[in-house]
Structures are given as structure tokens and as C-alpha cells.
């Protein structure tokens, strides 16, 4: 037989249940003072020590995302919007680095898979996957990112050239790398790459 749980204190159990109930009720309706306290705490936690803002001309705002365990940055100026990957429609007769098209605010937006382009390990689309819609030289397309990290402001001088030659030839599309190890994409170069152009004959 199962060993009788040594004298379960039912009164204590009931007391604990009551406490839980009270706590649940309390959390659903926090008093204003508590709310203020919480917010203050969060604000203090979030408050960062003010750093001397570099001169406007020298700064570079980057939208940072991850792709195949590496971080990449795109200049915010090119970015139209970051959206979740929804309703992707594969397009026949396109090269493999063109995943397909999505409807982006009424416009047809082709999605570029840099993994394929950079010959990185393939990975399935997840809930974290994002589309970074960009506009470069009148051309609009979406770049598939594994996850979005946020924005990062770095000085232009902070962007270093790549310290070692990459195994693959995609360094042509990189401006350099920041101190935070964020590879900055050269969208102008990317946009001018003939592979971006879809011009295939279909028999």
C-alpha cells in the first residue's frame, strides 16, 4: 500500500488555497500605488547611463537581426517596416534564394533568402522569422531574418572592415563589422547584384 502521507494538514492546505485565491484576485486588480511602484521599478531598471551622443553625421542607425547564428545590421534609412512572415506564396521559375512573395500593405513584396545567397545552412521558417522590408534605389524587397533584435546606433568610424576573409564570397555585400560584432549589410551592392534580378525564361 502507498505509504500514508504523514498526516496531511488539511487546514494548512485550505489556508494555502485561500492565499492563492487572494493572490490571484489581487493580481487582477492592482491598486494604483502598486502600479506606480512597478512602473518606477521598471523605469529605473531600463534607465541607461547617458552616453555622449556622437555627432549626427557620424552615426549610423542599424536594424539588427540574426541569421544563422550571426548578427546582421541594415541601415534604418533603407528599412520600410519589419513584419512577421505571413502568407508566403512561392513563385515558380525563380532562383532558390527567392522564397516567394507576400502581400505587404497592398504591394507585392519578393522575399530574399540571404542563407541561400550566402550559402549558409538552411533553416525552416519559425514563429520568430521576420521580414525586413527595404527600399533601395527604387527597388522594394523583403529580407528573411531568423529573429529581430532591435535597433542599434553606432558611429560610422566604428564600422570596421572585415578582419578575416570569409569562407564564402558574400563579403561583397558587407560594409564591415561593428564592435558589437554586427555585420553591416551593403544594401546598394546587394540591390545591384544580378542575382537579385529575376529574369528567367520559362519554357
Amino acid at each position: 500500500m502507498v505509504e500514508a502521507s504523514t498526516a496531511l494538514d488539511w487546514q494548512e492546505v485550505y489556508a494555502r488555497l485561500e492565499q492563492t485565491r487572494q493572490r490571484l484576485e489581487a493580481s487582477s486588480a492592482l491598486p494604483p500605488a502598486e502600479v506606480r511602484r512597478l512602473l518606477r521599478e521598471r523605469a529605473q531598471a531600463l534607465a541607461r547611463p547617458l552616453v555622449e551622443p556622437p555627432t549626427v553625421t557620424d552615426v549610423l542607425d542599424l536594424a539588427v537581426f540574426t541569421l544563422a547564428e550571426a548578427r546582421y545590421g541594415i541601415e534604418a534609412a533603407y528599412v520600410l517596416e519589419v513584419t512577421p512572415l505571413r502568407e508566403l506564396t512561392p513563385v515558380p521559375c525563380t532562383p532558390p534564394h527567392i522564397l516567394g512573395v507576400v502581400n505587404h500593405r497592398g504591394r507585392l513584396l519578393p522575399i530574399l533568402d540571404l542563407r541561400k545567397l550566402f550559402a549558409l545552412a538552411a533553416r525552416n521558417v519559425t514563429a520568430e522569422s521576420r521580414i525586413v522590408a527595404v527600399e533601395v534605389g527604387g527597388m522594394t524587397f523583403g529580407i528573411l531574418a531568423d529573429a529581430m533584435l532591435g535597433t542599434l546606433r553606432v558611429g560610422v568610424h566604428e564600422v570596421m572592415p572585415l578582419p578575416w576573409p570569409l569562407l564564402h564570397d558574400h563579403q561583397a555585400f558587407l560594409q564591415g563589422i561593428t564592435g558589437e560584432m554586427v555585420a553591416v549589410l551593403d544594401l546598394e551592392a546587394l540591390a545591384q547584384d544580378p542575382r537579385i534580378m529575376v529574369d528567367e525564361d520559362v519554357d
Binding site: 502507498v2 521598471r42 542607425d61 528599412v79 519589419v82 512577421p84 529581430m148 532591435g150
Partner: protein, 492 residues
Amino acid sequence: MQWTISRKIGMGFVIPVVILLVIGAVAYRGMTKLIETSYQVAHTHHVLQELEAVLVTMVDAESGERGYVITGEEWFLEPYQRALSRIQEELKRIETLMTDNPRQQRRLDALKPLVVRRFDHLQTVIETRRGQGLSSATEVILAGEGKKMIDDVRKVIAEMEHEENALLQQRSQLAEAVFRNTSSTIVVGTLLSFVLVSVAGFFITRGVTSQVRYSVNVLVSAASEILAATVQQAAGTSEEATAIQETTTTVDEVKQTVRVSAQQAKTVAETAQKTAKVAQDGQRAVEESVKGMQEAKARMEALAERIIGLSEQGQAIGEIITTVNELGDQSNLLAVNAAIEAAKAGEAGKGFAVVAAEVKALAEQSKQATTQVRGILGEIQRATQAAVMATEQGVKAADAGEKVAQGAGESIRSLAQSVHEATLVAQQILVSAQQQVVGMDQIAMAIQNIQQVSTQNMTATRQVERAAQDLNELSQQLQVLVTVAGHAPRSA
């Protein structure tokens, strides 16, 4: 051949008696024969006398006839007359005497006509004398017929006398032989019987004495053995008395034990009844426990259902959390876009960038919170699973408990059965113990009887012992007697 003493003695007497009888018989027979022979001798003498008488009578008749012839005087005829009257009588007497001898009878038969003729002739001569005178008569006589007749008569009588004489001689010889035989038989028989009696006496004495001595020896040893045996028996009898005493004690003890065991059987029966009651209570308790187990099982099953309900509600929470997570994601994205817009706006969007960062932080916090909630939900899920498993185990345990309780019930039932049987057995033991007590009383009584008999036996044994002693002494005395009487003491 082993002959008994009496037979030996009997034989010792019988042989001489037989010999004496034989002697007596022989003597008697000899005497009889002698008497008979002497009688016959007398008879022969008598016959001879008679024959002589006949001859005399004949001569008388002749002499009378002659006288008359010569003289013619009648009175001379008187001898003739007398002879005439006598001759028949005499002849008859002879005939009577000769009835036992056929030869003589034949001779007599021959004699009789001769005599008659002679007398006829005499008559004729006499008549002739009387009638014709002397000369005629002389002539008749001279014819010689008469003489011839008398000669014949004489001849026959002589033959007869000869015969009788021969008989006489024969008979006297016979008498002599008989006498000799008888006397020799008497002498020899007497001697023989004397010898036989002496021999028999010797052998009987010897045989009887040795047998008696042997018997006496045997008797002595037997008497001493009897004495020893009797002594032993006396000892045995006293041991027996002791044993009987011990047996009586033992029977008393056994009786005591039986009483104790009867008491114990009674106690056992009472205890068994109590136990039966306890078993009944136990059975009821087991039934209640089975019922309780079943109830506990039902409760636990209900509990499991409740827990599953809770788990499902947790799942609902999880769904809500997913929604919240999505909201967080969207907020995050919104914040990123806002930050990008702020960056595009340059200095003008600086304040907006701060708000965007705040929003992003909140979104991340809410995401973290949802992760935590998800973790908690996972824990709840695990706990629920554990609780359900525990409940299942509880149900199984309750099942097992029920089975165990039912087994216990079964055991208690069989125990009750056994106790019931034990009660019966105890009652039987009680009854048999009472019977045993009765039996023991009977045994005690029997032992008392045995004791009495044993006491009598002891008395009898003492008497026997005394008798054996007497016998022993007697046999020893007898031995002494025999030893003195016998040739030499061969054995003790």
C-alpha cells in the same frame, strides 16, 4: 524297551505264576491220567475176574452134568442149575464192562452162542440121561461135541483174557510214563521257576532301584528348582505388589492429568467460542474495510477526474498565454518598427526612440512572463500527471487493499471455521476426558482387584514355598534312603 516298574514287577511275578500254573496243570493232568489208568487197570482186573467166573460157571455146569450122568441123581444137577441161572447175569455183566472195547465185544458176541450151545448140549446130555439112560448119555458125551464146545469157549475166553492182559500191561506202562512225566515236570518246573524268580527278582531290584534312584535324583533337583522358582515367584509377587502400587499411583496421576486436560479442553472450547465471536467481529470489520476501500477508490477516481479537469483548465490558460505571447511578439515588432521610424526621423525622433525602447522592454517582459507562466503550467501539468498517477496508484492500492481485506476476510472465515472445528474437537475431548475419568476409575477398581488377587497369590506362593521346602526335604530324605538301599551313591 523301557518298562515301567510295575510292569517289571508284574512280569517278575507273572512268569513264575505261569510256570506254577503249568506245573499244576501238568500235575493235575498226570494225576487224572494216573487215576484213570488205575481205574482202567481195575476194570481190566474186574473183566478178568468175570471171565474167570464165566469159566468157573461153565465148569460148575459141566461138573453138575457129569455128576448127574454118572449117578443119575437129581441133586447132582444143583451146580448145573445154579450155573444156568448165573451165566446170563455174568455174560450181561461182561457185556456191560466191555462196552468201551469193540474188539472184545466182537469176541463176546462170538462167545455168547458158544456158551448157549454148550448149555444146550449139557441140557441135551442131561435129558438124554434122564430119558434114555446112562449109555445113551455116554454116547452123546463120547461124541466129543461137548468137549469141543468147551474148548472153543475156553479158547475165546483165553483170547479175551489175553487181550485184557495186554491192555493191562499197556495201561500200567502208560501210568508209569505219566507218573514219570509229571514228576519230572514238577521238579524241572519248580527249579525253572525258582531260577526265573531269582533272575527276575535280581533284575527288577536292580532296574527298579536304578530307576528309583534316577527318579529320586530328578525329584531332588526338581524339588530344589521348584523351591528356587517358588522363592523367585515370591520375590516376583512382591515386585508385582510394588508395581501394582506404582500403577495405582500412576492411574491416580493419569486421572489427575485427565481432569486437568478436561479442564483445559473446556477452557479451549470457551476460548474457541470467544475467538469465534472475535472472528465474527473481524469479518464484519473486514467487510467494512472492503466497503471503505471501495469508497476510497470511488473518491480517488473522482479526485482523478477533478485533477484532469484542473489540468484541462491549465491548458486553457496555456492557450491564453499563447495569445499573450503573440501579443508580446507583435508589441516587440511594433517597438522595433517604431525604433526604426525614430531613427529615420533623426534628432526629431529621439524622444520617440525612448518610448519605442520602453515598449520593446515591456513586450519582452510580457514575453518573459508568459514563458514563466508556461513553465509554471508545465510544472502544473507534471504535478497533475503525478497526482493522476498517484491517484491511480491509490486506486490500485485500494484495489489491492480490498483484495487483501477480502483475503483477510476469507482467512478470518476459514479461521472461524477452524475455530468452530476446534470447538467441536474440544467438546469431543471434553467428553472423551470424562469417559477417560470413568475408564480410569474402572482401571483403579480393576487394579484393586488385581491387588487383592496378588495378595492372595502372595499367600498362596508362601504356602507353595513351604510345600516346596517340605518336598525338598522329603526328596533329600528319599535320596538318602535310595542311596543306602542302592549299591553305591552314583550321584548326589
